[in-house]
Amino acid sequence: MATKPSKTATAAPATTRNAPPKTRRGSAGPNQWEYAPAPESTKIVHLRERYEHYIGGEWTKPSAKGYFDTVSPSSLEVLAKVAQGSAKDVDRAVAAARAAFDGDWSRRSGAERGRFLFRIARILQERAREFAVLETMDGGKAIKESRDIDVPLAAAHFFYYAGWADKLEYAFPGRRARPLGVAAQVIPWNFPLLMLAWKVAPALAAGNTVVLKPAETTPLTALLFCEVLEQAGLPAGVVNIVTGDGTTGAALVEHPGVDKVAFTGSTAVGKRIARAVAGTDKKVTLELGGKAANIVFDDAPIDAAVEGIVNGIFFNQGHVCCAGSRLFVQESAFDAVIAKLKRRMDTLRVGDPLDKNTDVGAINSNAQLQRITELVAAGSAEGAEIWQPSGELPARGYYFKPTIFTGVSQSHRIAQEEIFGPVLSVLTFRTPDEAIEKANNTPYGLSAGVWTDKGSRILSMVDRLRAGVVWANTFNRFDPTSPFGGYKESGYGREGGLHGLAPYLNFDGRR
C-alpha cells in the first residue's frame, strides 16, 4: 500500500458504514418472527396491600412518614404500598440487630449459622418461580433473566456462604476471625434479590446481624424474603429490612450503631458514604458505577463476540453496573462487527417483561428512562450517529429501544458517563496499546471484556486493563465463588468468593 492513502480508499469504509447492513431482511425487528404472547402467570404471587418494616422478626409500623407506592414499570399498576423509613425506624432496626447480635446469634456455632443459610438457599429454590415473577413485576426485568439468573444465583450465594460459616479457620488460617457486629446494607434496584443475597449471605456466614434497605423502586422481593427467613426459622432480629428512599439509606449508613457499611449503587452516593464514615471505625465496601470497555480484536470469533456484545449491554436493559457500555472494535473488523450486531439487534424482542420470549424488558422507573433519554439526546447532539432497530415499543410502560452509537469519541458524554440503560457507544482502535489507553481512560474500573483468538494477547490485555473483573471471550458472567468489585471510582472491597468474607470480619492477631 502507498504511504499516502488515496481519497477513495479513505472514503470507502465511511460509505459502507453508513449503508444499511446488506443482510437485513424485509421489515426487520420483532415483527420478523411472530410469536404468540407467552406471559408468565402472576397468580403465584400474593401481595399484601401494604408492607411495614420487618424489624426484630415483627412487621413494624413506620414511625412517622407513612407509605409510598411501588409501581410496576411495565404495567404501571401500583403493586403495593411500602413503608417509608425514618431515622427512628432505622434506629429501631439497628437496636434489634444489635440485640440479636449480642444475644441469640452470637451463641450460635458456625455450623448452626451455616444450617440457617442452607435452609434459606433451599427455600429460595423451592419458591423460585414466585420470586422470579415478583422480581419481574416490581423491577421490569425480563422473566427469563429473573427466572434463569437472578433467583438461581441468589440461592447459590446462600448455598455457597452457608458452607463457609463453620470454616472460617480454613479461610483465614492462623487467625481467629470475629464478626464485626451490625452490618448496614443498602442495595440497588437492578438486581434486587440477587444483591440482597450478595450482602446478607456473607454477613450472616461471618456471624454478623443485618439491617438492609432495598431500593425504593424494588422493595418487594426483599419483603417476600422475610417470609423465607421465617420459614427457615432464623432468630428474630438477625435480618431486619427497612424500606424507604435515599434518606432512609443515609440514616442507616450514618447510624453510629452500625459497624459495617456495604453499599451497591451509584458512584456519587458511594462518595457521600465514604465522607460520612470518615473518622469512624466502620468498615466499608462500595460497589459502584462502571463504564466497561468491551474490546473486540479482528481475529475474534465474530459471531460469539456479537453475542457477547449484546449480552454485555442489553442484559437487564443495560441496568448493570458492569455492563459493556463502551465497545472498542479494531478498525479492520468494524464493518463486519457492526453489520452483524445490527442484524442481531433486529431480532431482540423488547416488551412485556413477563413474556417468556422477551429479551429486553422495561426500564426500571420513569426517572431512569428520563436519564437514558437525556444522555441519548446528548449523544446525538454531540455528533455521534445513532442506530436503533425497527419495531414498536409497548404503548404502556417505560421502555427504551436497544441503541447503538457509532462515531463516538472519548470526550462524548456517552463515552464518559454511566448511562445504565440499553445504550452502547462504539469506538475504534488500531493497536492493542491504543485499546488499553482508551479503555483505561475513565474514572471507573469495574469490569472489562476482551475478544480475541490469541491466548497470549488475552493475557497481556487482561494484565493491563484496570478493572476488577475481566471477561475474556465472554461477558457478564457471575458466580458465588467469583470475587466481584472495582478499581478506582468503581469502589472498593470484594463481594463473592473467599474474598467476600473478609470485609465482614475482624481478626485477632495480624497476618
Binding site: 465522607r275 470475587p483 469502589g491 470484594r494 468468593g497
Partner: protein, 301 residues
Amino acid sequence: MATTKKPASRTAAAPARLGVPKTYKLFIGGKFPRSESGRSYEVVDLRGEFLANASLASRKDARDAVAAARKAVKGWSGATAYNRGQVLYRIAEVLDGRRDQFVAELVSLGATQRSAVAQVDAAIGTWIFHAGFSDKYAQVLGSANPVAAPYFNFSLPEPTGVVAIVAPQDAGWSLRGLAATIAPAIVSGNAVVVVAHETNPLSAISFAEVLATSDVPAGVVNILTGSAAELAPHLASHMDVNAVDLAGVDDSTLAIDLEVRAAENLKRVVRPRTLPAAHVGTLDEIQQFTELKTVWHPIGV
C-alpha cells in the same frame, strides 16, 4: 611492609576538623531537588541546637512528586516479582552498609545509642521481610475459583497505583517508620509519595540516598520533608493518587479532613494507627494497597 603502626592521633595535635555538613533536600523522581518554594525549616537536636536546614516542601513539590510516582508505576509494577524482591533486598544491603551513619544521625538527634541501633536494625529487618514477600503475596491472596459453569476463573492481586503516605511521627520511628509504610506499598508495584517524620526528617533524606543507590527506579519512592498538616491535604485531594496511608496523622481532626478529601476520587484510605514495637510487616499491610482482579475465560475446544 610487615610493620604495624598505630595511626597517629589526630585529635590531640591537629585543630578540630572542619566538617562538611550535608544539605538535606527532597527526593523526587530519583533526584534531590530543593523545594521549589525555596523554603526551609530548622532541624534541631534535643537541646534545641541547630542541626540542619531541611527543605520545607510545598504543594507544588507534592504535585511534582505525584507526577514522578505516576510515571514510575508502569515500569515498577511491570517488573517481575523476583526483580522487585531483589531490589528491596538491595535496600536492606545498602542500609546495612551504612548502619553506623544512620545510628550516628539518630544519636545526634537525641536517641540513645541502644535505641538508635535497635531502630536501624528494625528497619533493615522490615526491608528483608518484604523482599521475601514480593513473589509470595499473590499466591496467598489470589485464588482459583470453581465457578459452576465451563469457565476458567482466577483472582490475582495487583498494585493500586500511586500511594501517598504520612510516615509515622512517633519518637523512635523516623527511620523504621519509613520501612514499615513504604515497603508494604512498593513490594507489590505501587509508587509512593511519603511525607517524612516532621521533626526528624534527616533519616528520611539519608534513607533517600540509600534508595538512590539500590536500583530502585526513579520515582518509585518520593520523599517530602516539611509539614504533614500542610502537605497531606493536597495529597489526599490529588485526583491522581489512588490510596493514602494516614499512619502518622496524630491529629484526629486532620485525619477526618483527609479521609473526606480522599473520598473525592474514592482513594483507598488506611486510617491512622500506632505500629506495635515488634512490628516487622504483615500481609494485611501489603494487601491494603492492592486491587483484586478476577478473570474469566471459557473452557472449550
